[in-house]
Symmetry: C2
Subunit: 300 residues, 2 copies
């Protein structure tokens, strides 16, 4: 097989895939080649544009390290992450809606007691987070593993400033009590631009887009017999709710960061300054196939 | 705009592109989003597969350095490079056909006198390379800049073994004489597998494909008023002519590496052992818009 031209090359590449390791590898490879070639045929890149594309991907790769995942940012900002999320959550179960994981999840966040302060001493308005975890049938799920993480009051995550703050902060792993309850103290997160000093930032600029996300708290919740829930709760009233750069906002995931006066808080703690309180009731989809051990399941 | 689902997300992302820097950026971004989403919709990746994709791109980026361009290998092995090449060479001019640049071109190869030995002392069967450079009207092009580069007799390029050999070898930049002639001595290159110890190698393995290219010599030829020619001449009889991993072979680019006895060679040099001789007549497409300075043009 030789002498390929723009009309014959796609089938030539497809033909080479006939001995792929398995049917799924064949399917994904063939679809990738077809769609990638269709993209090239549509835009007809010059050599300079092709080189710019190679360079963009290379710089994106070079920006990735253990604290920064530029390809996830790329997937998020092109709407691919939310599309994959939607495809994987088609069932109409009465369960909490999902959104992107984002690039700031950390596998082994500190295990914390219910009610703990996870702010790590970061400055900001105190925030009480409370929630309940139930199955889609409404039964409370005791012992569910709840990962909570969020930005500081300037919009930065701990992993973006580890050199300065020295340790993880504003994240923790909890286990729900016998009523499915979870609670902790932290500080109120701010809206923030996704890291935009790299190739994805330059892409957004060229596309005429801002890099902002509305303020939110991340939750990942795992319980035996249920699908792992990956979601956020967004701050109601945030100016970026309608233009989240990663397309992650759903109305059902908007929650009030309710302003409260100094005094005794909902968890019994007495607090001497005004604070805010975010509460959300989560419902997990049943998944009989999920692992029995929630800790194992949470870190899958 | 919120609450995107798998049916609405694509238009939502397109909508965000309305303030793109210019029409071309808008066109490329919109096409990228549409085709990328179509790919995702077709294969419906699980989260684990999406993560594997992110990881593949990240590892591919991390493999790129000043001696290795893994994303070009990816483009080459998926047939994208030859597709871009075909799209950019539609004219039916009587000109030499083109093929991929490949990842081993070096911007500033040593300037060499005509007839020079560029083997750098690498072991192998001596190879005399001769050629002529003409316009599509048949007129010889004097002073054209000709870059020549190829692998050693084990199939490795100089840049893959710089630590061992210490300097560039088997590459040089020449200027054609008043008859459009170019000539040099080197060693006969071998067929070789593209570098396959990285992510692209693992992809080829999973796709059930070998990583080999037929033996060839690269040529890049630039002359004022003409399109820069990027091509190879492949060794006739090579076992990989029909399965070049980057789909680059065209019949018109296959040349004889003619075996010659010891004695006086075509360039007048007396050689005491058998050698081989590769000759090719190149024709460049006219391009009135091309830069007047060939050196500048060659390194563009």
């Amino acid at each position: 097989m030789r002498n390929f031209n723009e009309f014959t090359i796609t089938n030539a590449v497809m033909e080479r895939l006939k001995d792929a390791r398995d049917a799924r590898m064949h399917q994904i490879s063939a679809a990738l080649v077809r769609h990638l070639h269709a993209f090239v045929r549509e835009v007809e890149p010059t050599f300079a544009e092709w080189e710019a594309g190679i360079d963009f991907l290379t710089r994106t790769g070079h920006f990735c390290n253990d604290k920064r995942q530029e390809f996830i940012l790329l997937s998020d900002t092109l709407g691919v992450s939310m599309l994959v999320d939607a495809i994987n959550h088609r069932s109409a179960e009465a369960a909490t809606e999902t959104t992107v994981l984002g690039p700031f999840f950390v596998q082994h966040a500190p295990e914390c007691a219910l009610g703990a302060d996870i702010s790590g001493g970061m400055p900001g308005e105190p925030l009480l987070i409370t929630g309940s975890v139930r199955g889609s049938d409404g039964q409370p799920l005791a012992g569910a593993v709840v990962d909570i993480w969020h930005s500081d009051s300037d919009g930065y995550y701990d992993v973006q400033q580890l050199d300065e703050i020295g340790d993880l902060a504003m994240r923790g792993r909890f286990r729900t009590d016998e009523n499915g309850g979870v609670r902790c103290w932290s500080i109120r997160p701010a809206a923030y631009p996704i890291p935009h000093d790299g190739p994805v930032g330059r892409m957004l600029e060229a596309q005429g887009r801002h890099p902002w996300r509305p303020a939110h708290v991340h939750f990942m919740i795992a319980a035996p017999g249920h699908e792992k829930l990956v979601t956020h709760i967004f701050a109601s009233g945030d100016r970026y709710l309608d233009s989240d750069v990663v397309f992650g906002v759903k109305d059902s995931l908007i929650g009030a960061f309710a302003e409260k006066p100094a005094g005794q808080a909902a968890d019994g703690r007495v607090i001497r300054r005004p604070y805010c309180h975010l509460h959300h009731d989560f419902r997990l989809r049943p998944d009989p196939a999920s692992a029995a051990n929630p800790a194992e399941f949470a870190s899958a």
